[in-house]
Symmetry: C2
Subunit: 344 residues, 2 copies
């Protein structure tokens, strides 16, 4: 009797011990997090009808919730970023995918990039005109090619080899963007035609800075970032902005943060905005908010550039920093609820 009591006692001890051990090794319930943007620029309350504002708010919410759903179902931050951006690309409201602005040639030329913080793997495409969801092609470049950046017709050949159907360029057509191009061309004719330098700057800001992007933190503590754009209205000469440039428009590193930018791309390239935010966190131990403010409110401002970034760190702290009038943006608050903001 004493022996069997002793045995039961020992088994109980073993059971308690192993349970405690299992508990210690279980991953902590981490905070997931997500921020998206739909472009920055001269977005004023007075320039949006209530109907338009509602349309933007609804679409941003839909995109954010698509990402949230992925994260809540144990998906990766990369999956969440892709899911959220596809919804913005498919909407004619934003300058990416359907609804992209027109180049000077009257075509659409789309750029996108994606980066995974745990592996530092990245993929990007630039100057594609037949890809419905450039963000997904950027991901395929990352996962199925040895390259980071593919461009033009070559990128589309690669897409076909990987089962991506090309779409008729008519898919991207929207009346609004077509009229913007005609307006730009009128302006150019009227006096800026001879001045190539000025021509590149003649667009109203909201047509120049529209871009969409997302950053996310998943339950494994891994970060991802993605950005997609149609570039500038009336753009010429195969111009590529910061969106497909890793380190300028997009960056993710699990040691620091994930960043997606929107704005006057040339300035973002020259400063290496996304990479610099990560560097300030890594080397100067700034918070994600301090780092984005240093780069956008000080460095970008000093250089004369306009735009903004969204960023998230590995603890789920977020930043949405811009020096333009507004930035379409949405994030999950600490309770996991979507919050949409547009103006300053």
């Amino acid at each position: 009797m004493r022996r069997s009591l002793c045995l039961v006692f020992c088994l109980c001890l073993l059971w308690v011990g192993s349970t405690a051990h299992a508990h210690r090794n279980q991953p902590q319930s981490r905070r997931i997090g997500m921020v998206i943007h739909g472009g920055a620029g001269t977005i004023l309350k007075s320039s949006l009808t209530p109907e338009m504002e509602k349309a933007y708010r609804d679409k941003l919410t839909e995109s954010l919730l698509a990402g949230k759903s992925v994260l809540e179902n144990h998906g990766s931050s990369l999956d969440a970023v892709e899911a959220a951006i596809r919804i913005l690309e498919d909407s004619p409201l934003f300058n990416a995918g359907k609804g992209a602005v027109f180049t000077a040639d009257g075509t659409n030329s789309l750029d996108a990039s994606v980066m995974e913080g745990k592996s530092l793997k990245a993929g990007a495409v630039a100057g594609v005109g037949h890809i419905k969801n450039p963000i997904s092609l950027a991901r395929i470049v990352m996962e199925k090619s040895p390259h980071v950046l593919l461009t033009g017709k070559g990128a589309e050949t690669f897409a076909q080899l990987n089962g991506v159907k090309l779409v008729n360029p008519k898919y991207f057509f929207t009346e609004r963007r077509w009229e913007e191009l005609q307006h730009e061309k009128e302006l150019e004719k009227k006096g800026l035609k001879e001045n190539m330098r000025a021509a590149g700057f003649s667009s109203p800001e909201d047509r120049k800075y529209g871009t969409v992007g997302a950053v996310a933190l998943d339950e494994t503590g891994s970060l991802a970032a993605g950005t997609s754009t149609g570039g500038m209205t009336n753009k010429k000469w195969g111009r590529i902005g910061d969106s497909p440039i890793i380190g300028a428009g997009t960056y993710a590193n699990n040691q620091t943060c994930a960043v997606s930018a929107t704005g006057h791309g040339e300035y973002f390239i020259r400063l290496g905005v996304a990479r610099d935010i990560a560097a300030l966190m890594e080397y100067q131990k700034l918070s994600v908010k301090e780092a984005t403010e240093t780069v956008i409110l000080k460095k970008l401002e000093a250089l004369g550039g306009k735009g903004g970034v969204i960023a998230i760190d590995r603890n789920g702290n977020i930043a949405m920093t811009f020096n333009s009038e507004g930035m379409y943006r949405a994030y999950l608050n600490p309770e996991g609820q979507p919050v949409v903001e547009i103006f300053r």
Copy 2:
């Protein structure tokens, strides 16, 4: 007599004073500095004939001395970088300009970029096939367009608008590079054809990492960097490497350093190599040597990438750091004499 003596004395004092003042206000005789590279890779003493080694050494010396001559004649670091790189582009020895490798389509697709440290202005071109000196077109993009990066046919249209003559693609042909392409295609046929991932990696290192670049410090204390390349033999899908990417293959900032990279471009993009070296100097106060060693010998090595960088800081300290077998390189020593090195 006393009066005139007094006047002479006073004038003498004035003269001495003004000379001393002028002397104090004169710019200090600053140290000029320059480093160039002609690519990194599996460059072994055993793989070069004495004649070939001499040819490389002579051309590197000629390029470096062209840059030195600009600097000694009060030219800018930007002028020096352009002059040095044009000589390497014009030589069939290096994978840039004449002598560029062939794409899978049997064409030449050239990339280049340049950056000025005092203004943080930058220019780049990618995927051009009719430009004799892509480095000079990159500079024109920087100086005469509102953009940083122009690509493909659009970049060539811009070139023509700015008086740059297009050359017949035959200009770039060299028997050696053509045979390398045939060899690559043979290898691909033999077993790697189905494996797109491997295909991108099938080149011997020295055909993959060839690139030329230069960094310089002028007498005003201003830095500049430039890089030019033909990319990878047998490259496909409009692939763009790190050479035209500001922050990856090229960076210059008078606060820190000027950097030009050569190597397996995808890794350089993912790490943002050139921008990271500048960040380590700015935020962690590393020397240019410590910063390049941290990024190339630690970070690049850890990620599995191969290649190297040349860099110079605003005091003329230089670094030439690589984790490959060799790197074609040359620099001005403290006495202003050219020193050429190839192997480890």
